[in-house]
């Protein structure tokens, strides 16, 4: 009993710490234009590759741009678009999962086999192929990542709907005259959503990682737009002389991904949600 309580407090502590880190990051992202000391895309070759100073808190890159300001603005792209990927993939997955699970039959078969087909291709390869066909760019990468990601949500949601739909209270709702839509709204979605929130937290880290890796490969965000993955890519040539150019954005990616994963992990422990 005591050990259980201690575990619970511990997981609560993790949840509190992680959410406050993410909260601070979110605020920074929101107020980036006011916090940033310099223009993130202003090139100033006279000041290139400088050490940290009062004017440039984290120094400058090979084009004399302020690294600190670029990281702040980069957070907007990394976090913002990761959120976009997450929300879109979740909505598609929610709709398809519920339709497949609730309808069953050939609709279910068709949707799930389509999903299986998508899952058979490694996600990075799929996005690479997508970019190969439609050309490099943020839009294509985001679309590709959404197309890869919805399958996971759809599968989990379908599973939950399948077990929910056998519950007596769904039958009772049908008998008390509720339409399919009412059953969805009142019984299915409210029971699915909490698990989804937990799963979503875990998947946010995934989205940020993938978005950054695509940018690192030069396929996602195009210069001069600041983005963490792209910043690592640009700093790569100076790895011997100025490793800081890669370390700062790299650290930020690590911090955010680890925080999201820890938060997701302890939330799923707390609420007993299984992943995938």
């Amino acid at each position: 009993m005591k050990a259980k309580l201690r575990d619970r407090l511990k997981s609560q502590k993790v949840i509190v710490i992680c959410s406050s880190i993410l909260g601070v990051l979110f605020l920074i992202t929101l107020f980036a234009p006011w916090i940033a000391p310099n223009d993130p895309i202003a090139v100033n070759l006279a000041h290139k590759l400088q050490q940290p100073s009062w004017d440039y808190p984290l120094g400058t890159d090979h084009l004399g741009r302020c690294t600190f300001s670029r990281i702040l603005f980069g957070a907007r792209i990394s976090l913002g678009f990761a959120m976009l990927i997450f929300v879109s993939a979740l909505s598609i997955g929610l709709i398809i999962g519920i339709v497949a699970g609730y309808t069953g039959g050939w609709v279910d078969q068709l949707l799930m086999r389509l999903g299986d087909g998508l899952m058979a291709i490694p996600s990075l390869l799929f996005v690479l192929g997508f970019v190969g066909i439609w050309g490099a760019g943020l839009k294509q990468v985001i679309l590709g990542l959404i197309l890869v990601q919805w399958v996971y949500y759809a599968r989990v949601i379908r599973g939950m709907v399948l077990s929910l739909k056998e519950q007596n209270y769904i039958t009772a709702a049908k008998i008390s005259g509720s339409s399919t839509w009412t059953i969805m709204k009142k019984h299915i979605i409210p029971n699915v959503l909490p698990s989804l929130a937990v799963m979503g937290t875990l998947e946010m880290g995934w989205a940020i990682m993938n978005l950054s890796s695509m940018s690192f490969l030069g396929l996602g965000v195009q210069p001069p737009t600041p983005e963490w993955g792209a910043m690592i890519h640009e700093g790569k040539s100076y790895i011997r002389t100025h490793p800081a150019l890669m370390i700062y954005p790299g650290f930020m990616i690590m911090l955010v991904v680890v925080t999201f994963n820890l938060l997701g992990e302890s939330l799923s422990e707390r609420f007993g949600v299984k992943r995938r």
């Binding site: 007596n168 039958t171 009772a172 008998i175 008390s176 005259g177 009412t182």
Partner: protein, 273 residues
């Protein structure tokens, strides 16, 4: 005209086999026919696996039988236009065995009971609440239980909420699918008392599905015995049941334990298998 007429209903599960020969059919219900008159209760007893619950689902309109008809107030419930379907849905309700799984754990008692009201009646918020309180009081709960969640109720109380939801629309027929079987003896008799009161007050009819012979006799006007998907016999009174010569009825009868162990003789011992 009877309230409910079941005519030669056959139901079977079909397990499709992709590679091995023919499809396998398992017969669950075989040529079932009976009727329920308005204001009466038909008790349906049988061992587990006899097809009792499937029959309940067929009557409720959620499990279409392969053959036969279910006529409710003269309408075939599997062959209806939208308007009649809505009307019949109102008049046909259910109370399940497991009271916990029959309610959404995320909804308060108020929301559970108001669900059928919202589906069929346009009520203002205040009016709806007044009706829910009325229903709660009718089943022996009170206004204080309005905002409670299912886990805050006992099994018996929750079964009362299920009953309140079932009678909310003033239906004609309620299918009681093992509704008292998971309750203790005292609660069972209280719920049975409530059910027979409601029957008289609202002129309800019941189809009381149970394996508990004593419970069946306490509120039923007619008793049917179901065994392996077949309706063996119908009895109008307790005496008829107890004087029946049918071997399956005899076995069921013998399985009733005497009130005190002292009265149990060798002949009343349950034969297994």
């Amino acid at each position: 005209m009877s309230l409910l007429q079941v005519k030669q209903v056959n139901f079977s599960y079909n397990s499709k086999r992709l590679f091995k020969g023919n499809d396998q059919t398992t017969n669950i219900l075989n040529e079932i026919s009976f009727s329920i008159e308005e204001g009466t209760c038909l008790g349906l007893i049988g061992t587990s696996g006899a097809g009792k619950s499937t029959l309940g689902k067929v009557i409720l309109g959620i499990q279409r039988p392969q053959q036969g008809q279910v006529l409710f107030q003269g309408h075939d419930i599997y062959n209806l236009n939208k308007a009649t379907q809505q009307k019949i849905r109102r008049d046909l309700q259910v109370v399940f065995q497991d009271s916990y799984s029959a309610v959404n754990p995320r909804m308060t008692a108020e929301r559970i009971i108001s669900e059928p009201l919202e589906n069929f009646e346009r009520l203002s918020v205040g009016e709806k609440r007044r009706r829910v309180i009325e229903l709660l009081e009718r089943v022996g709960l009170s206004e204080r239980d309005l905002k409670k969640y299912p886990h805050q109720f006992s099994g018996g109380q929750l079964q009362r909420i299920n009953i309140a939801r079932a009678i909310a629309l003033k239906p004609k027929l309620i299918v009681l699918d093992e509704s008292v079987s998971s309750l203790d003896m005292v609660t069972q008799s209280l719920i049975l008392k409530l059910l027979s009161e409601l029957k008289d007050d609202f002129g309800l009819s019941y189809l009381f599905i149970t394996h508990d012979i004593k419970a069946a006799f306490s509120i039923s006007d007619q008793i049917g015995v179901l065994e392996k998907g077949e309706l063996i016999e119908l009895y109008d009174s307790k005496d008829q049941f107890f004087s029946s010569k049918h071997p399956i009825v005899k076995r069921l009868r013998d399985s009733i334990l005497a009130e005190h162990p002292r009265f149990r003789t060798l002949t009343t011992k349950v034969k297994l298998g």
